[in-house]
Symmetry: D2
Subunit: 133 residues, 4 copies
């Protein structure tokens, strides 16, 4: 299927990177979680702004923006193995947790559930990284 082949392409590119292959599994997983959470938060931003009402509440939308921004900064620092990547992961875990909680308040909205899942999964990966400090 097209979808699967598209994602195999993604994986193939990602795994083929020699510099990346020396990274331990934890770091690799954390980068992928951050990239995924970054994109999912941006998708959810569009969803929330379109829905309006409670979905577009300032505090909620700003959390989604903070989470997207923090995740992409974490992905960058992890990828280039910055000396501050553990520090940044600790901050990112906090922001992801807050965003997860905010998304969980929307019962019955599949997009919000998916975003909460992505935030929770990213928070776990970032916490695990940060605990290595």
């Amino acid at each position: 299927m097209a979808t699967v082949s598209g994602q195999q392409g993604f994986q193939a590119t990602f795994q083929a990177t020699p510099h990346f292959s020396h990274m331990d599994e934890q770091m690799r997983r954390c980068i992928q979680e951050c990239l995924s959470c970054f994109s999912v938060c941006e998708q959810t931003l569009a969803h929330c702004l379109k829905k309006g009402g409670k979905h577009a509440a300032a505090d909620h939308v700003k959390l989604l923006m903070d989470c997207a921004e923090s995740c992409r900064m974490s992905a960058a620092l992890l990828s280039r193995e910055s000396v501050f990547h553990l520090h940044q992961c600790a901050t990112c875990a906090e922001i992801c947790k807050a965003c997860e909680e905010s998304c969980e308040e929307f019962a019955g909205d599949a997009q919000m559930k998916a975003c909460a899942d992505a935030c929770r999964s990213c928070a776990e990966a970032c916490s695990t990284m940060a605990a290595m400090a």
Copy 2:
């Protein structure tokens, strides 16, 4: 294996996003290419700075920085379905092509080859998107 399960987790999160599921395959693939190319360019930045010499030439390193930055901006605009996403994809395709060419000049360096591949693949996905304008 740990690697596979980590990536299945990534795919699962990414595919489970309802907002994302309505996107056509081309847009989905383009986001993934941009996310991958963003991370690979950051990894390659670390590789080039560590190697020094020709690898750390100002023009080459700045292209890697531009490409990483452009790819993450494209990923953001595509994910939130910004009205400027096609415009941004056109710019991103140009930057990725230039970065690919710069990376191809390093024969026998597996990291540079992987980065050239990621840039070429991302340039193609972005060009395909931009052509829809």
Copy 3:
């Protein structure tokens, strides 16, 4: 006054940069316009989300996000004299113009007027830069 001394500090830091001092006035002004427009758009995002209603319409908020993101990318590329800075300025001018028009539809809202002014001024500076290509 505190405000003035704070801003003199900003100017002093900015002007004292030797690398920056060789830049021509046009480039210097363009960086400042991009930095200013980036911050003003982020401020306006907070304002619009707090106001809700028409202010928080998806298309309008997403334009503010695009404009903030584009301006900070332009500021980065201009500052490091990237080979793509003129290309990026051309894109940024387009986005700033669209954001200006969107902000101008809110008559009698001083924040929106200030944002429209910042976008117009930044669009002019970016267009002037891009015309040097």
Copy 4:
């Protein structure tokens, strides 16, 4: 003079923002320090890559990249009054201090001195903000 009028334009735009005018002086100064430090670090990146040698050492260049990225994230979160702005300022102060120390090792290089000054000034403003938590 052109330079001065350019900067007066910047100040005028910045000060005229109604949303911004309610901010206290400390926050306003911190945003300006972050914007300035972001641009100065990007300028210094170009300078260091051009000089090569010790200037282009991986650890030093990556600190400049981290500092630029952290400062622009701080400027964004402060500008939109994110709930995480104090948290981000604490992280940013750490990164700025590390970057300042790294820049101070280059005696007799005016660009490095200007960058160290910008980092020190930004670290102070961010620390002051973070202490309000």
